[in-house]
Assembly symmetry: C2
């Protein structure tokens, strides 16, 4: 999660909502990205979407069932549904997103086989987001 | 929808699930794409995702509230949630997707302001999909 946080910090420095993600396969980081929606003028350029595309490209296959994605914030519905399409093996996220998180939706947007752990490195993940939104007010 | 169907036919010819989409703004087609998940080895490369990215890039802004997306099949949850993030003005789709469509989920994945029309050019849209899956059996 420390590596995902480094990515989130890069987003913060670009004045992007500070969310970072990495994909790990066989103990190795195979993709890393941060939110670039403003930089790319593209509301789909979330960290997780980039990481899914990169990891699939690296592995040469559409499915990420052997991978873990670490992301600093609970994924939004788009990213959760993308993880479902990719048959993601495991999702580890930091802060929850009670207003826009995927877990607000029913049935679950994630693939039934995806293992999930939330609240990891919660304090560091939340702190950066709070700092960003405090600066915006 | 005829233009979206032309895109779907291009997907069919590439042996991709035949779904096509276009984005229209002020009566002009500003983006067009077809499903490329196999070609790009990327489960996120749906026609709608590409069209959202292209249209935002063309307009130089993240929001598509003045646009209509025409797509031959009911969007999946990922694409519907992406349309929500883009504040899409209007969605027109052809065939329904009773197994994987966004409308299975609650609350709605679309933006509350997005107007929706389904079942447009239904027969042509369905026919191409049925032909594709019949050939796969």
């Amino acid at each position: 999660m420390q590596e995902a946080l480094s990515e989130a910090l890069m987003a913060f420095e670009r004045d992007e909502v500070p969310v970072g993600a990495i994909a790990v396969c066989n103990g190795r980081i195979i993709a890393r990205a941060h939110n670039l929606t403003e930089t790319l003028t593209d509301s789909t350029a979330h960290a997780e979407m980039q990481v899914i595309t990169m990891a699939s490209s690296f592995l040469g296959g559409k499915y990420l069932d052997g991978c873990t994605i670490y992301v600093t914030l609970e994924p939004c519905p788009m990213c959760a549904a993308a993880m479902n399409l990719a048959h993601l093996g495991r999702l580890v996220f930091g802060a929850s997103d009670p207003k826009r998180g995927y877990s607000l939706f029913s049935p679950s947007l994630l693939h039934p086989k995806t293992e999930v752990a939330g609240g990891v490195a919660l304090e560091n993940c939340s702190e950066l987001l709070e700092k960003f939104f405090r600066n915006k007010r």
